[in-house]
């Protein structure tokens, strides 16, 4: 199955996306954020909380005399002076010993003192990546669409039970949904957690517990089960750092989601997303972007061009962070009104269009949610048509829809039914998509072309006006955000001339795509 679409339009969309991202990349190059700096601290080995439960990375970054120089310089200076490890420096800070002033330490000494810690961080990340590669070789996954389900009990131990059960029932990816409150916290909670609201806190210890459980069940099943979480919200890059250290395999990570749907400041978000993606690129973590969110709040038929445009923008930002296509899981969702005649045709058009515009991307396909109701029998069918669309159009990351979507966060039995649904539909129609052609000039093709051309127009407009200005002008998701408004703006840092971040240097640089 192949849509005949205008390849020049696709190239044009990509050029506009680059043009949109170029000026933002310049801004990013000149800025850091408190979250980026905390990520650096974490990568250098700083962990734990103080007596008030405040994470040490926050303590250290908050204590910086010259944030514009970056945390690395201050830490490097302290290490060079005291011979302590970064963690010891942090502990000492809590105990009352201030950080050294980097102005007093030669740049080379700072770099030298930090070098082994930087190296260790990179080695750990590389080792985790290598581990994953080994697992994937020895315990190969079933072919895509990769079946993805969520766990969300609020209690990491219950989640673990649920995750293992889901893996046994056929899940290939487990997502631990975060507690609602977390994305707006300007720190990462600590330790194993058992209380959460509609989800479970993302913490390094929770990552570790879940990864260990999944490694065990992977071995048992003979196929590697992936783990995913959210590098989103005010701690985007920190979560990416922790995920890299704990071998998560994917992360929800979008260049604009926080701005539009969580009212997080756009400058903060742009800088954070970039650094988080530098880490993801090194760690081999697949990002999952959040275009589905355009569809849950507004009409899915109308929003189709916005989804495609956002995919191009997400791609351009990811390329800037050195991410290869294989790590860019662009999002879409099956959210067209089930009562719309021929809605399925529009869904096929959109999904196949994404597949052709981003042939090497591991596309992430979200299930119907908005139009799900308490009629679980009907819901199960809508999920089936979604499953069919996914296998037909070769989606990669397939979030299994739950028949109880409108009712509660998934029960263990719901997940089993959802996985059985996907397995049945994707088995009985496994190669259906390869055995059909779309009628030239037919409804499906015309719809895809219309969406593509509207997306190009949208991107052209944004490129002309500027991304920040466009967001302010309600171009996306019908919300307006101002460049200096929103949460977390005070955490944006204009880099000084002697700003230094060894990871920025070690990871892929910000060059024009």
């Amino acid at each position: 199955m192949q849509l005949r679409i205008d390849l020049e339009a696709v190239a044009q969309a990509r050029r506009f996306a680059t043009a949109i991202v170029d000026p933002i990349a310049e801004f990013i190059a000149g800025h850091s954020t408190v979250a980026v700096e905390r990520s650096v601290a974490r990568l250098l080995g700083i962990d734990g909380v103080d007596a008030d439960g405040i994470p040490l990375p926050n303590r250290v970054v908050d204590a910086l005399a010259d944030p514009a120089g970056g945390v690395a310089r201050a830490l490097g200076a302290s290490i060079a002076e005291t011979g302590r490890t970064p963690q010891q420096v942090a502990t000492a800070l809590v105990a009352g010993t201030p950080l050294s002033d980097p102005a007093h330490t030669p740049v080379a000494a700072i770099a030298g003192a930090l070098a082994p810690h930087v190296t260790r961080a990179l080695e750990t990340i590389d080792a985790r990546r290598a581990e994953r590669a080994t697992f994937l070789r020895e315990l190969p996954q079933a072919p895509p669409p990769l079946l993805y389900v969520i766990v969300a009990s609020g209690n990491i131990y219950e989640d673990r039970t649920a995750a293992v059960a889901a893996a046994q029932a056929g899940a290939q990816i487990i997502a631990v949904i975060r507690s609602t409150a977390q994305s707006l916290l300007d720190y990462v909670p600590h330790g194993a957690t058992t209380e959460g609201f509609g989800g479970t806190y993302a913490t390094q210890e929770n990552f570790r517990l879940m990864r260990a459980a999944l490694d065990e069940v992977s071995a048992q099943l003979g196929r590697y089960v992936m783990l995913t979480n959210y590098a989103s919200g005010l701690c985007m890059p920190e979560i990416a750092a922790l995920a890299a250290l704990e071998r998560l395999d994917m992360l929800l990570n979008d260049s604009m989601y926080g701005i539009l749907f969580r009212d997080i400041n756009m400058k903060r978000t742009f800088v954070d997303q970039h650094f988080s993606r530098l880490i993801n690129a090194r760690a081999g973590i697949i990002i999952n972007t959040g275009e589905d969110n355009y569809l849950t709040t507004a009409d899915a038929v109308e929003q189709a061009p916005a989804v495609l445009a956002s995919q191009f923008i997400n791609e351009a930002f990811a390329h800037r962070a050195g991410m290869p296509d294989a790590l860019i899981g662009l999002g879409d969702a099956y959210e067209i009104d089930p009562d719309l005649e021929d809605g399925f045709l529009l869904q096929v058009a959109q999904a196949q269009l994404a597949r052709q515009c981003f042939p090497a991307a591991p596309l992430k396909y979200m299930p119907p949610t908005k139009h799900m109701t308490g009629d679980i029998f009907r819901g199960h069918l809508i999920d089936a048509m979604f499953n069919l669309t996914s296998v037909m159009t070769h989606q990669t990351i397939h979030l299994c829809g739950m028949l109880t979507e409108a009712i509660h966060t998934p029960f263990l039995g719901d997940r089993a039914l959802a996985l059985a649904n996907a397995r049945y539909v994707m088995g009985t129609a496994r190669h259906f998509g390869d055995e059909i052609e779309l009628r030239p000039g037919g409804k499906i093709e015309l719809r895809a072309r219309a969406v593509l051309s509207a997306a190009v127009d949208l991107l052209a407009g944004v490129a002309g006006r500027g991304l920040m200005e466009s967001i302010a002008a309600k171009v996306f998701a019908d919300v307006s955000r101002s460049p200096d408004g929103g949460r977390g703006f005070d955490g944006v840092i204009a880099k000084s001339a002697h700003y230094w971040n060894p990871f920025e240097d070690a990871l892929r640089p910000l060059t024009a795509a």
């Binding site: 046994q168 609201f197 709040t297 109701t373 039995g413 039914l417």
Partner: protein
């Protein structure tokens, strides 16, 4: 008295379908445990039509059974809040003639709830399923406060802006958070002596008019509510108030 039982294919056969998971490894004994459970719940003719392993230590069951329980529907009263909806012009006319001034409406998702789609469907100009939202009505002045509004903040707003009708939404129901938030709001309004002065309306997919009444609200609107249902209710209630 009118006794009603579930209907399979014959009046009063009491037929029902159940499904559930047991934390047991599947075996014939697990099927039997499922059967015993449903028998113990008082069902008869219990048939475990599906029982299978869904994970290590977990089995899933589908059961058909008959219930001896009947409900006397003559004792069930659940008046709908949405009745004989008027159209926009009629609502506006009713307010103009009977209230004589614009009705001030505030709406919000309270607590930590961020699901604004439902309340927006009622309030926003655009409306829902082709039915215009309250902002479009000439005689309503609408303040949509958005999501995650603390009840304290909302009560302050009601007081400061002399709100006539307060519309609150709760979509997340996990661990009874909806009930807790609705209750907190009603109590605070009562404490601030504002309750009697306003039309207080609850909404959300799990809300029923009956539940709202139990919580001390004037009305509750659930699944599939249209803006005009709500507009009509507010207009009529305001008109009654003016009379009284």
């Amino acid at each position: 008295m009118k006794l009603v039982k579930p209907y399979g294919d014959t009046l009063d056969d009491g037929a029902m379908q159940l499904s559930f998971t047991l934390p047991l490894e599947w075996s014939e004994a697990a099927d039997e445990a499922a059967r015993a459970l449903v028998v113990k719940q008082g069902f008869t003719d219990v048939a475990v039509v599906e029982g299978r392993k869904i994970a290590a230590g977990f089995s899933f069951f589908v059961v058909y059974a008959r219930t001896p329980v009947a409900i006397d529907v003559s004792t069930i009263a659940a008046p709908r809040a949405a009745r004989d909806a008027l159209d926009m012009d009629a609502v506006d006319a009713l307010i103009r003639t009977r209230v004589g001034r614009k009705v001030r409406i505030a709406g919000a998702c309270i607590g930590t709830d961020a699901h604004t789609v439902g309340i927006d469907a009622i309030l926003n100009m655009k409306g829902y399923k082709g039915d215009y939202g309250l902002e479009r009505y000439h005689e309503f002045e609408v303040f949509n406060l958005g999501s995650q509004i603390a009840v304290e903040e909302l009560v302050r707003f009601v007081k400061d802006r002399r709100i006539d009708a307060l519309l609150v939404s709760q979509v997340v129901t996990q661990k009874g958070s909806d009930i807790a938030n609705f209750t907190a709001l009603a109590e605070l309004l009562e404490a601030e002596d504002l309750r009697d002065g306003i039309v207080l309306i609850a909404g959300g997919p799990r809300v029923t008019n009956l539940l709202a009444a139990e919580l001390g609200y004037d009305a509750g609107f659930g699944r599939g509510t249209l803006p005009s249902d709500v507009a009509t209710f507010i207009a009529r209630r305001m008109a009654e108030r003016v009379l009284a």
